[in-house]
């Protein structure tokens, strides 16, 4: 058992899988010699050498295209796209190639790869380097989409993603890289498609992802301590496959549900989950389904503006309290 940062967990997770399977290779911009711009891949180049850990040109289409071709023919590539916002310059692979090839070929081809990326806000980088793009991926049939919130989940879910036979989009939250958590020694392997109830509760369910998970947890503590409201907090972890059983089970117990989303409002994962609940658990509900999201605007750069725009602990507390008292 050791305390590890989320950042170091990334390198450990990749190393674990590269050590285990020589077909795992890793490519991206500045990932090798420099250890990544977020320093999340330090040491891999030294450990696994220049043939397995490769710096690329600034050619995101080539990075993802090459990862796909290698995956189709026998390797298990991990590709890094530095910031998730850059998915927009290589979106064809994410939307049209990775996820459709197996289906179109009636099962002839495979695409076992992982795309890792730095996702999310909080670094004062402005509108083109701060987005939370999980929905860009969740909406595409044929992908798997994962977003861990803790170091141990980073390792376990990354290992599961690398061993998964399908294309997995692995969203690391930039504002979590510096956070720490206890991590057991030895191999860690988690399971895609499993949500985690991080705090059991009776009065309402709060569903969160990535950076919003610690905020939802903090809000739940405050709601309990200050307002006597006992919330169950679920870390979705995996958007596809989606663990609807855990979510619907929780709502059947609490009868109220909130989602806390960092992504801009429209067509977020919260909308999907809420619409599932509104269909399948309608008669369990005691009141409106409420989504707490970043407003539907581009992200501002200034610290003070950025801090004001994402869902905060205060906003979650206030919204849950107000809704339940209504």
């Amino acid at each position: 058992m050791a305390e590890l940062t989320y950042r170091d967990a990334v390198a450990r997770g990749i190393a674990q899988e590269m050590a285990r399977d020589p077909d795992v290779v890793f490519l991206g911009e500045d990932v090798a010699k420099a250890g990544g711009v977020f320093k999340a891949t330090v040491g891999l180049y030294e450990q696994f050498g220049p043939l397995r850990v490769r710096d690329t040109p600034i050619s995101e289409q080539a990075i993802l295209g090459a990862a796909m071709g290698a995956a189709m023919t026998g390797l298990k590539p991990i590709a890094e796209i530095m910031f998730s916002d850059f998915f927009a310059v290589c979106f064809d692979y994410i939307a049209n190639e990775f996820p459709k090839s197996r289906y179109m070929t009636n099962g002839q081809t495979k695409c076992p790869l992982v795309v890792r990326t730095g996702n999310g806000a909080g670094s004062r980088f402005g509108a083109q380097h701060s987005q939370s793009v999980e929905n860009w991926c969740m909406m595409i049939p044929g992908l798997k989409v994962v977003a861990p919130s803790s170091p141990v989940d980073v390792i376990g879910l990354l290992a599961a993603a690398v061993r998964d036979p399908d294309p997995v989009i692995f969203l690391e939250h930039k504002s979590l890289y510096g956070t720490k958590g206890e991590v057991p020694d030895g191999e860690i392997l988690d399971k895609l498609g499993t949500a985690k109830i991080l705090r059991p509760g009776r009065d309402a369910t709060i569903i969160a992802l990535a950076l919003m998970v610690p905020r939802a947890l903090a809000a739940a503590e405050r709601l309990a301590a200050e307002h006597g409201i006992d919330c169950e907090v679920i870390d979705v972890r995996s958007l596809v496959p989606l663990d609807t059983q855990t979510i619907l089970g929780s709502v059947a117990k609490t009868h109220r549900c909130f989602s806390v989303e960092e992504n801009p409002r429209l067509c977020g994962w919260g909308a999907e989950i809420m619409s599932i609940i509104a269909d399948e658990a309608f008669y369990d509900l005691d009141g409106p389904l409420v989504r707490i999201t970043t407003p539907h605007i581009p992200l501002p750069a200034a610290d003070i503006l950025e801090d004001a725009i994402l869902p905060t602990v205060d906003r979650i507390v206030e919204r849950v309290r107000r809704t339940l008292k209504a």
Binding site: S59, Q61, G69, L75
Partner: protein
């Protein structure tokens, strides 16, 4: 090119009779199958879109015959020719065009996505440029694993102006990947002449130097020329000397797709190119080399029979069953995105 017969002593040149007959057979096979696809389309039996390579057969044949087993092909939506050239049965190709259950992908992919992994046809891609980087990845795997196979990536002239072309070429050159990029310059994109929208005369070859590669433009209607160029490129790739970019000048006899009557062509252009029909050229070539009419006639008859039989089999084939609708989205065979 002289049409005089070649002296008997020269018959076994670097290509030789056996390979020449293979090149001929491959071209005729493509021609007949594509012509049949066109006929079936007129009978309303081909559905969706389809993109024929009538007139471009020498490129597909020349490269495929030069390939070894295990070499990989990446094609575009205009990929029937390359798929057939790797030995995929005509029936499976026509079946896919007719969207029947006997199709290569049982109708799930359609004419633009012909794939036969067992023949090394790693897919046909319908987003312009997308497969060039993917081909790099297949070649990277060979390099990484120390395999000797080479990947070939076919695409059109119009594809040279999209970003993925540039990224793939640079990437392949820097990593010295065993991949051959083959541009089939048929002078047109869909309906617009390539010269109207390209800053250089030869959209692929005139850019080779931007990737440190040799400038190669060849007669894409002469299967011998294509074959020789391909052999050189494969040798180079197998020797670890990196990628090649080859521009083959050719022409499509029909429209861009089944929806296109190709009225945008200047008068006489099609006729001029038909004089340089690759199959016509190759029949003469065989004659020059003294290869007998009967060998040729036998191939012609063989192919006709195969295509006829394939046609009948396709007409008799059932539609794909509904239960394949949701199979093979994920590797577990299913499509479940939730529990």
């Amino acid at each position: 090119m002289s049409k005089k017969p070649i002296p008997a002593a020269a018959l076994n040149d670097d290509i030789g009779e056996e390979t020449r007959l293979e090149l001929y057979r491959s071209q005729v096979n493509i021609r007949e199958a594509e012509q049949r696809a066109f006929d079936l389309f007129l009978q309303n039996l081909v559905k969706g879109t389809s993109h024929l390579s009538l007139g471009q057969e020498a490129v597909a044949a020349g490269f495929a015959v030069a390939m070894k087993k295990g070499d990989l092909s990446f094609c575009t939506y205009r990929g029937h020719a390359h798929t057939l050239a790797r030995g995929v049965p005509v029936e499976q190709v026509l079946g896919e065009l007719m969207q029947r259950d006997n199709g290569l992908m049982r109708g799930k992919g359609g004419s633009m996505h012909l794939t036969s992994e067992e023949h090394g046809v790693m897919g046909s891609y319908a987003i312009i440029g997308a497969h060039l980087p993917i081909a790099c990845g297949a070649a990277w795997r060979a390099q990484y694993k120390g395999h000797s196979d080479v990947t070939t990536c076919f695409f059109g002239d119009g594809t040279t102006n999209i970003g993925a072309f540039h990224e793939a070429l640079n990437f392949a050159a820097v990593w010295k990947l065993p991949v051959i990029f083959v541009c089939e310059n048929n002078l047109y994109m869909e309906y617009t002449p390539i010269r109207d929208v390209t800053a250089v005369e030869h959209p692929a070859a005139d850019r080779a130097s931007a990737y440190g590669l040799e400038r190669i433009v060849i007669d894409g209607n002469d299967a011998d020329v294509v074959y020789r160029t391909a052999m050189t490129a494969y040798e180079k790739a197998r020797a670890g000397k990196g990628p090649s970019l080859i521009e083959c000048m050719t022409y499509r006899h029909s429209g861009h797709s089944r929806a296109d009557p190709a009225k945008y062509r200047p008068e006489g252009e099609l006729e001029r190119w038909k004089e340089r029909d690759p199959i016509k050229i190759y029949r003469e070539r065989l004659k020059q080399f003294g290869i007998g009419d009967d060998a040729v006639a036998k191939i012609d008859a063989d192919i006709k029979r195969i295509v006829d039989e394939a046609t009948e089999a396709c007409k008799a084939a059932p539609n794909p069953p509904m239960d394949i609708l949701t199979t093979d989205v994920y590797a577990d065979g299913g499509w479940a995105w939730r529990n």
